[in-house]
């Protein structure tokens, strides 16, 4: 392990990117294993959300039999093959857009830590000023691929709020990783019922931020369209607006929640993890047309980001990653702020130190059910109207479904949509009955 080797020893080799291997070759071999493991872990986690059940199952049938059983249910082989096919790259120079927030961690860290390079890609990451601009630049074909909010590819594919451009989600960038931040003067107003008349910001209309904030205040009996004001403000400008007293709070992406604390302007009211543990946040998206034109390049990008997500999933790597993405070229933020976000040991702005290791998580699989939940909220708040064919829309956009279609063709029984339960503020979501879910809310627009 080169991390613990003496760096002054002329015999020691320090050539591995993550610092856990003796040589670059060992690192690469391990990265491949890691990426396969990430997929298998995701599937196992989905099948057995509770560790106890998984252990019982493994003990009962044995690890090898379990592997076989799961492989017969789920085309792990096909997915792994897809992640390993190394055809000739159609396009080596790839332009990827991003917003400087920690949600973009896997796609940003892939550049300084060499994940793109390893796939033979010459990536230029372009920092972008706001989500509407990201949308336009993806639609204008200025970007080959981009960091997108998880609901954006769905909205863009349906033409909600823009032209309809078919999009695909390769991976979910991160889950959790947001928070509700309030101005310090509101530190005694911790009950959302007291928030009538507050001015809140979210980064974009088609964002988890918007839907989670609406959900949260609606649970407290406030109508987000009447009782509070929700504005669209680009993430970097949220802190400045909070300082200028132009906002009472925001449900924003990190590092801007932690930054408000660090600059002594606001405090973290709750992490979005407490609203829905494991909710998706941002995604890594491409135009469907682009995937068809550049399948090998797409596969290479997919491998790079998947590998990065696997590394980011390890808590022991988080400090390395914080240092890699902090420079002005990427997030342009103080390292201590990023460390607090990524490690989950943070100052809450009220004098307390909290320790929440899964404050941000990196689970790259774009489960259908997540997309369906997003669509139910778009329907609930009037962003989409009429009958919505939830399932088929999500299946077209989230690439997980591509695998499922292939399974059906092969005659393999597909597992139910994401066996892991989606529980938002104590309420269980059944992805097979989206309309009933929408109808069950007292406060809604539709």
């Amino acid at each position: 392990m080169s991390l613990f080797d003496n760096p002054y020893d002329s015999e020691s080799r320090l050539s591995c990117a993550c610092g856990r291997h003796a040589s670059k070759a060992a690192h690469e071999a391990d990265a491949e294993v890691l990426s396969n493991q990430a997929l298998e872990t995701a599937v196992l986690k989905a099948l057995f959300p509770r560790d106890g059940e998984r252990r019982k199952f493994l003990r009962a049938v044995g690890a090898n039999a379990a592997m076989g059983a799961i492989a017969s249910l789920f085309p792990l082989g096909a997915l792994q093959a897809m992640a390993q096919e190394k055809g000739k790259l159609e396009k080596k120079d790839v332009k990827i857009g991003f917003i400087p927030i920690t949600c973009a961690t896997p796609l940003i860290m892939s550049l300084p830590l060499g994940f793109y390079e390893k796939q033979g890609l010459n990536v230029s990451l372009v920092k972008t000023a706001g989500w509407a601009l990201i949308r336009d630049k993806v639609q204008n074909k200025e970007y080959d691929a981009s960091h997108l909010l998880a609901p954006m590819p769905l909205a863009m594919s349906m033409g909600a709020g823009s032209n309809a451009v078919p999009m695909n989600v390769a991976t979910i960038q991160n889950s959790n990783g947001q928070a509700i931040t309030l101005a310090l003067k509101h530190k005694d107003k911790r009950d959302p019922k007291q928030w009538k008349g507050f001015k809140f910001a979210v980064p974009f209309e088609y964002s988890m931020h918007n839907f989670l904030l609406r959900y949260y205040v609606a649970e407290a009996g406030l109508d987000p369209d009447k009782d509070i004001q929700i504005r669209v403000v680009p993430p970097p400008e949220m802190v400045a607006n909070l300082r200028a007293d132009n906002l009472d709070g925001y449900l924003g992406p990190d590092p801007f929640n932690q930054r408000a604390v660090y600059d002594n302007i606001g405090f973290i009211h709750i992490l979005t993890k407490e609203i829905w543990d494991g909710h998706p946040c941002c995604s890594f998206g491409v135009r469907t047309e682009w995937v068809k034109e550049n399948p090998n390049t797409f596969a290479a990008m997919y491998r790079a980001v998947l590998n990065a997500a696997a590394m980011a999933a390890g808590p022991e790597n988080r400090a390395t990653i914080a240092n890699a993405i902090a420079p002005a070229n990427y997030l342009n933020q103080p390292v201590p702020v990023l460390e607090q976000v990524l490690t989950g040991k943070y100052a809450d702005g009220l004098g307390g130190v909290k320790n929440v290791p899964n404050r941000i998580e990196f689970d790259p699989v774009p489960w259908n059910a997540l997309g369906v939940w997003i669509l139910t909220q778009m329907k609930r708040w009037g962003y989409i109207k009429g009958d919505v064919n939830y399932k088929s829309i999500v299946e077209q956009v989230y690439l997980m479904t591509d695998a499922k279609k292939r399974m059906k063709e092969e005659g393999i029984a597909a597992p139910a949509d994401m066996p892991k339960k989606i529980i938002v503020m104590g309420k269980v979501f059944d992805a097979s009955k989206p309309d009933a879910y929408v109808a069950s809310f007292a406060i809604k627009k539709a």
Binding site: V126, A129, V239, A328, N329, V337, A347
Partner: protein, 277 residues
């Protein structure tokens, strides 16, 4: 000469007063670190001095030196030295301004020469002139489908009007006697335009160009903040993103100085073509 020396002294005194006020405003305030849990203080970054709010004069000095001493560094596609950023902004302004001059001067000539064209185009000019250049941005992004071209278009559209109106005004107010003399000398339209009207109207046209350049420099910063990716405006946005006031103030100073130099250049040009009647 003594007057000039006096004005210099006054300017320096004003500068000193401003700097002193700045110094007083940015004096460090004693924080409540002592009573705080040391771990919490560390997470808040209070164990080390950190820039909080208004930078002190010393911080400002080091910031300016850091940027000025290494203006052309290139640390990746989103982090380049201030010299490179300025180059991008000036290039965009020059291109948009040049295109605007290409349209505005001939069109201004036509309007100035022909009352008919003037009356026909006037309503359009009156409606389009007061539109804020940045209001064009979303439309430009949507139709042009390229952010770099869009920002050049925005420079173009805001530079066109002052040049157009001034050219038309300059051409229309060339003294009748000169035109009559040209006519008696049987000079052709082309020759009259280039040898009589253009030199006569040149100072007014350049006044228009000077105003246009000033507006273009104002607009590019805003446009780059909106569109991002290189340029002085992007630099300001990126440092705002980092809430670094010292860097933002540095950028403001640079924008001011460059704007002043541009204005001086056009002033000199204007002087060169002005004639004494």
């Amino acid at each position: 000469m003594r007057e000039r020396a006096k004005s210099w002294v006054l300017s320096l005194l004003l500068l000193a007063a401003i700097l002193f006020a700045w110094h007083l405003a940015s004096l460090p305030k004693a924080g409540p670190t002592a009573a705080m849990d040391p771990e919490y203080a560390k997470l808040m970054g209070l164990d080390k001095p950190k820039s909080d709010g208004m930078p002190s004069l010393a911080t400002m000095g080091t910031t300016i030196w850091k940027h000025v001493s290494n203006p052309f560094y290139d640390a990746g596609s989103n982090d380049k030295g201030i010299g490179i950023q300025l180059g991008y902004s000036l290039g965009r302004v020059a291109l948009g301004f040049f295109l605007a001059a290409l349209v505005a001067v001939p069109l201004g000539f036509a309007i100035g020469l022909s009352p008919l064209v003037h009356r026909a185009l006037n309503p359009f000019i009156q409606v389009l002139k007061p539109i804020s250049p940045l209001a064009w941005m979303p439309l430009a992004l949507y139709t042009i489908k390229d952010s770099a071209t869009s920002s050049i278009f925005v420079i173009f559209i805001c530079s066109v009007w002052p040049m157009l109106i001034n050219t038309a005004h300059g051409v229309a107010s060339v003294r009748r006697e000169w035109l009559n003399v040209a006519r008696t000398l049987e000079a052709g339209t082309f020759r009259t335009c280039f040898e009589v009207i253009l030199p006569a109207a040149a100072p007014v046209i350049l006044t228009g160009a000077r105003i246009s350049m000033g507006i273009a420099w104002l607009v590019i910063v805003a446009a780059e903040m909106l569109v991002g990716n290189l340029g002085v405006g992007y630099f300001v946005w990126n440092e705002w993103n980092n809430l670094s006031l010292a860097n933002v103030i540095f950028a403001i100073l640079v924008i001011g100085v460059v704007g002043m130099i541009l204005d001086l250049l056009f002033g000199a040009l204007q002087k060169a073509v002005t004639y004494v009647e």
